[in-house]
């Protein structure tokens, strides 16, 4: 029942927003639906912790620890984006970016687009994690792309059309490969399972039979799935849409894409990874994942070192973190899976924080440049700027922040799995990324001051930032026991016995 509620809240919000006429109502509905989704996801996680797994409608919808964890993370990002979006778009309206005059029909149309498409976006992400049928999961992943294309073109600039076109085309090709992979998985399972067509793509059914699958077909299927969901997760070399889309979309959308969609794509990949390991043994899938993971972390290095825009910097950081998660999965074992899921959890808290800080700075200084002349934010933004510095430390994996623990765990898994060379390359890349990222952010925050006035504190935009920063600090020292149980349970699903 909780699953149905989780799915219906965003749909309901989408429908209601299309009907109401005033901005206040849209904002209220959005905030309420975000809180509701988060509550539903937490309840679902509670049920999963008590019962092990929850399923609905003959196993059509299914949630285990892994789905519950990703659902909680997704709804968390959705929750923190909601109040920020309210403040962010009010500021855009005041700056006359949405439309030439304040609060006219054109402005309202734009806002309506955001407040209807974002819940739809959220719905698709929730469907990704609770769909048991791998085909339905694919449909939902494609749905996230379709729902977000017009969010990328939100500002209607020529560059945002360009970003949306790349996003749509690269995403479309990638996902068609994932669909082919799904078809082939179905085919390789077809003979093992017989002709039962309704449940034959259900993950919970497939995982019991995976060792009997056709091995040649499964091998091809996993390659296609990795390319497909890897495109969605922005793994190199299919990452090129990511910096463009993140720098053109409104900040709340970029945060959702960087923290929530990334998780969903990695989640889809992980589901197929389990099947592949059961069918083919760990070596094949692990080597591919390590290859793509290292490539992503490696590609991020030069672009982070010479980056000129703060939002593209965050995009490359997100490519890097996607790579680390995939590496954790590829290194395998209980340690690798645990490291990957902890990394996912911490990343989902830290990345929105950075996007919000950068969004505040960009709205204040009207630029996302990192070049000379853009610096000294600490004078103009006395609250956002120090938190940006803190977030940068957290996201680059500096101790004592929690991402240090998860990255360290991934590395330990790498050494334990005898992937010594890959682990050494990873350490080198992480150090280089730390230097580049921290250099840019420190320059931005502490550099010579610009001639901009002090910010007027906007509650909607500042409180989410403060709240998230407290959470980032808190999580460095303490992870609540139920969250850890959830992560641990999810890691057990991914750590397939070898």
């Amino acid at each position: 029942m909780t699953i149905i509620i989780l799915l219906s809240i965003p749909l309901l919000a989408c429908g209601l927003t299309a009907l109401v006429r005033t901005r206040q109502w849209m904002e209220t509905i959005h905030l309420v639906s975000a809180c509701g989704s988060f509550a539903a996801a937490v309840f679902l996680a509670g049920e999963v912790l008590r019962q092990g797994s929850v399923s609905m409608g003959n196993g059509f919808l299914y949630a285990d620890h892994l789905s519950a964890l990703v659902a909680v993370l997704t709804s968390f990002v959705y929750l923190v984006c909601a109040p920020y979006a309210v403040g962010y778009f009010r500021r855009d309206m005041a700056d006359k970016i949405l439309a030439p005059t304040v609060d006219d029909a054109a402005c309202l149309g734009k806002l309506r687009m955001y407040y209807t498409l974002t819940p739809l976006f959220g719905f698709c992400m929730f469907l990704v994690v609770v769909a048991n049928n791998l085909g339905v999961m694919w449909i939902a992943v494609e749905g996230t792309t379709l729902a977000s294309i017009f969010l990328v073109t939100f500002y209607g600039r020529p560059t945002s059309l360009e970003a949306a076109w790349k996003y749509a085309m690269i995403g479309g090709v990638g996902l068609s490969m994932a669909l082919f992979g799904t078809v082939l998985t179905y085919y390789s399972a077809h003979q093992a399972l017989g002709g039962d067509s309704v449940s034959a793509l259900n993950w919970s059914v497939l995982v019991l039979q995976a060792s009997h699958f056709d091995k040649t077909v499964m091998r091809l299927a996993f390659i296609l799935i990795l390319l497909g969901f890897g495109t969605k997760a922005g793994l190199a070399p299919m990452h090129t849409w990511k910096p463009d889309a993140y720098s053109e979309a409104p900040i709340p959308v970029a945060a959702l894409m960087a923290a929530a969609v990334l998780n969903c794509a990695i989640y889809g990949l992980a589901r197929f990874y389990v099947l592949t390991v059961l069918c083919l043994g760990p070596a094949f899938a692990s080597n591919l994942l390590i290859l793509f993971g290292l490539l992503s972390v490696g590609v991020a290095v030069p672009f982070i070192l010479v980056q000129r825009s703060s939002r593209r910097l965050l995009a490359y950081s997100s490519i890097d973190h996607g790579g680390i998660m995939v590496l954790g999965l590829g290194f395998g074992g209980a340690l690798g899976a645990l490291g990957m899921l902890l990394h996912m959890t911490f990343h989902s808290v830290a990345k929105p924080l950075l996007f919000f800080c950068v969004g505040n700075a960009q709205q204040h200084t009207k630029s996302d440049s990192l070049q000379k002349g853009a610096g000294g934010l600490i004078h103009a933004l006395p609250i956002t700027a120090p938190i940006l510095l803190l977030g940068a430390l957290a996201v680059t994996g500096t101790p004592p922040f929690s991402m240090f623990q998860s990255e360290f765990m991934v590395l330990r898994a790498g050494f334990a799995g005898h992937y010594t060379r890959a682990s050494i390359v990873l350490v080198a890349c992480l150090v280089a990324i730390f230097c580049g990222f921290f250099h840019h952010v420190a320059q931005l925050v502490l550099g010579p001051p610009q001639a901009v006035p002090r910010e007027v504190i906007c509650k909607w935009k500042t409180y989410p930032v403060i709240g998230l920063s407290l959470l980032v600090i808190g999580m460095a020292f303490w992870l609540p026991a139920p969250v850890y149980q959830l992560v641990d349970g999810a890691a057990r699903i991914l750590a397939v016995p070898r």
Binding site: N133, G135, V136, W138, I139, E142, G143, T145, L146, I149, F150, T153, G156, P158, T159, L161, E162, A163, A164, W165, K166, A168, M169, G172, V173, S176, L179, F180, V183, L184, Y186, Y187, H190, Q191, S197, V198, A200, L201, T216, V217, L220, P243, D244, S247, E248, F303, V306, Q307, R308, S309, R312
Partner: protein, 228 residues
Amino acid sequence: MQFWQDSQFGDRMITLMAALVLVLQITMVTQRWLITNIRAFALQSFLLACIATTIAYYNAAPHIYIAAVFMLLVKVILLPFVFERLVRRIEIRREIEPLINAPISVIIAGLLTLLAYVVAESFHRPDEPMGPASLGHNTLAVAIALFLIGFFMMVNRRKALTQVLALLSLENGIFLAAISLTYGMPMIVEVGIFFDVLVGAMVLAILVYRIRETFDSMDVSRLSRLKG
């Protein structure tokens, strides 16, 4: 027994139609007029719907009929209609300008078909008399060829709308693979995929229109301001 009830006849019909589908795909590679391209795509989709119907008839798999109907409605009637209207509305006068010229494109398409046959060969199980392997050997190769040539077309073209067509023909390849390998996906998945294809094509059509309005061109090589 009438001749059309013989499953041998069905096999041959499917192979024949699959061959025509491949021919149409290669036609699309070389064809320079956008309208002709759209019509070739519609015809290709129609042949796929026929293949689906044939497979449904010979294997008594009623849910494939539904897939065939969806194919007919979405890709044969609705999308070509929308695209032709779009072409007329934005008044595309010039033809498609591929990056690689026609003769070399055909050679590349031929090589890709060869590659598809090599890949499909690894799926072939001569010892299994029943099941997809007996029926789908040629068809699967055609499906993979459609997929690969679709890729090539996407890279080879500069106009936004022709890239959308290439993406859709690539999806046709997946459809053919799905019906020839497993007699279609589960019903709900099939419906969902068609829904996604429909919405996706509509979204892309709107995007094409807006690109045309903003840049006064559909040439995607002009979309090159975002770098680094």
